[in-house]
């Protein structure tokens, strides 16, 4: 589904990613972990086309450099880390923005666009919020609306940048279960970034540990979430305990 080959990204004078290789199979959920400043978000932005990059990014067999913007937006949908909440915009109109890549430049949304949005809203139990202004929703409700806009894009590849960082532990689980359910229902491929290591391991098929702009480890959660790797790349002392759905990472005080 997605192949990233030797991708380099330079922001200002600093090179953030120094040649990253990554593949994500169709239907797979891969989560990128790594310490602050490792380049997780930058990697997602490069895949989403939000920052210019060198190297190859191939989506569904086509290099993104050969994709027109609208076509790319039909293949990749992104939920940003902190999406802009346009003041005064209603939930329905916000979710409809997801249909932009299908609407002709001077046209307006078709009945089909509306019915797709309707289905997404029902599926995320957002129907009762459609007339509300996005600003007035709680953090958990907003996150579902952000997700709804991305799903309305109808793209097979979903990029989630820290989808749970603004949520409490219960809403984190709710959103991630939702993503997992939708992934299975709609045969989506998910590439996410996450901070909470235990949660990341529980939901992803594969974890990619990014450190200082390079890939330090790539594999099933049990292979990546090890005390030794986390100590080296996070400078953290942790205990890793086997859990029902993956390793549980518990921080341990240094002294």
């Amino acid at each position: 589904m997605l192949a990233v080959e030797g991708v380099r990204v330079t922001l200002g004078d600093a090179e953030i990613l120094h040649g990253v290789d990554l593949t994500v199979a169709s239907g797979e959920w891969v989560t990128v972990i790594g310490p602050n400043g490792a380049g997780k978000s930058t990697l997602l932005r490069a895949v989403g086309g939000a920052v210019p990059s060198h190297g190859k990014i191939i989506i569904d067999g086509t290099p993104t450099s050969a994709l027109p913007r609208r076509r790319r937006a039909q293949l990749v949908a992104t939920v940003a880390q902190q999406p802009v909440v346009p003041p005064g915009m209603r939930v329905l109109d916000y979710v409809l923005l997801g249909r932009t890549p299908y609407i002709a430049p001077l046209g307006r949304e078709s009945a089909q666009d509306l019915s797709i949005v309707e289905q997404v809203l029902d599926s995320l139990e957002l129907r009762r919020f459609t007339g509300r202004e996005l600003e007035t929703l709680s953090g958990g409700e907003r996150q579902r609306v952000f997700l709804a806009r991305a799903l309305a894009q109808g793209a097979p590849l979903l990029l989630l940048d820290e989808p749970t960082s603004a949520l409490d532990i219960g809403h984190q689980q709710e959103v991630l279960e939702l993503v997992d359910r939708l992934r299975k229902e709609r045969a989506l491929t998910v590439l996410a970034t996450m901070h909470d290591l235990s949660v990341a391991g529980e939901y992803a098929d594969r974890l990619v540990l990014l450190a200082e702009g390079r890939i330090a480890a790539d594999g099933p959660p049990a292979q990546v979430l090890t005390e030794e790797l986390l100590a080296r790349h996070y400078r953290a002392r942790v205990r890793v305990i086997a859990g029902e759905f993956g390793p549980i990472v518990v921080p341990v005080r240094l002294s």
Binding site: G49, V84, P86, G88, L92, P101, R108
Partner: protein
């Protein structure tokens, strides 16, 4: 289950906007030193449509007052108001800033300098051309500076470039005024705005720009909604944010420059009308822009009516009228809805 109603221009609001324009048109033509019956005025206006011939009961002198004196002025007011409001709404969307007005990028300062030069150098007939050229040059310089100043072409650098260009041009203008004190009165009256007409001359000057600006801005009104989520997300939805923004700003600035060239600097309209529309009819640019066009047109034509009748035979500067009546009305709307946003 409720049906989903996406933000669109609602027929009711469209009808209200058209109604407001028609009321302003008839009132503006009927009222003045000689008051004409509104029914007769409406009949005469309809007679201007080819193939219509209604009895109005007006004599030839009265018909001449309508077609040669009042109608051109009312139409000019409608066009200028439409342009300033549409451009204001467009600027607010492009910059995602409720305080943006069509003069933000130096149009006012450039036109002001052009007009001052025309007056100071006794080139009165060239005033509209000078004001238009000044406005155009100022916006182009602002844009070039803004693009050169920020690699990301963020709107903040563009606004700062506008501030710098405006200050620079205002300095030159002030210097010119100091050197030519005898012209201050004339320049001042231009700065406050006026809708003086000489037959249909001004209307024909302005009309082509109104058409171009209106077509371009209204065609891109959905893109303004997409731009409201910011450049990065707009790009991820398949838009070219910089390109859309540049086209919109160019169109809005062209319309503003043309309006300013024939009417002077009429403040307030471009900022207040789009906000009132937003508060009343919702926050989507798909309704804000067309409704700003209509209500802006009606508002300015009515403001001009007040400007030329309140202290007749004298005339108030129209900028004074727009602010004096517009500001309290805006506060009223603001208080009753308690919601201001872009």
């Amino acid at each position: 289950m409720t049906t989903l109603r996406p933000a669109r221009l609602r027929p009711g609001w469209l009808a209200a906007g058209i109604g407001a324009v028609l009321v302003a048109l008839v009132a503006g033509v009927a009222l003045g030193p000689v008051t004409l019956p509104p029914g007769s005025v409406a009949a005469e206006l309809l007679n201007l449509i080819p193939g219509v011939d209604l009895p109005s009961g007006l004599n030839e002198r009265e018909i001449a007052i309508i077609t040669e004196l009042r109608l051109p002025r009312v139409v000019l007011g409608l066009l200028v108001g439409a342009m300033l409001s549409l451009a204001g709404g467009c600027y607010q969307g492009v910059f995602r800033n409720p305080l943006a007005d069509p003069y933000l990028l130096g149009v006012a300062a450039g036109a002001g300098l052009g007009a001052t030069m025309a007056i100071a150098f006794r080139a009165g007939p060239f005033l509209p051309l000078a004001a238009f050229a000044g406005a155009g040059i100022a916006v182009v310089v602002t844009y070039l500076l803004g693009v050169a100043g920020g690699r990301d072409r963020s709107s903040a650098t563009l606004i700062l470039a506008g501030v710098a260009v405006s200050s620079f041009l205002a300095a030159i203008q002030t210097y010119l005024l100091q050197r030519n004190v005898d012209t201050i009165r004339e320049v001042y009256s231009w700065l406050l705005g006026r809708l003086a007409t000489n037959g249909w001359h001004e209307v024909t000057l302005l009309l082509p720009y109104v058409v171009v600006t209106t077509v371009v801005v209204l065609a891109l009104r959905r893109e303004l909604d997409v731009l409201s989520v910011g450049d990065t997300e707009a790009a991820s939805l398949g838009l070219h944010p910089q390109r859309s923004r540049m086209i919109l700003l160019a169109a809005a600035s062209l319309g503003t420059a043309a309006a300013v060239a024939v009417s002077g600097l009429i403040g307030f309209v471009g900022i207040i009308v789009p906000h009132v529309v937003r508060l009343l009819a919702g926050g989507s640019y798909r309704s804000i822009l067309p409704l700003s066009l209509l209500f802006g047109a009606a508002f300015l034509a009515l403001a001009d009516l007040a400007a030329r009748t309140l202290i007749a035979p004298g005339e108030l500067p129209i900028g004074v009228v727009t602010a004096f009546f517009g500001a309290p009305f805006f506060i009223l709307v603001l208080r009753s809805t308690r919601r201001v946003s872009v």
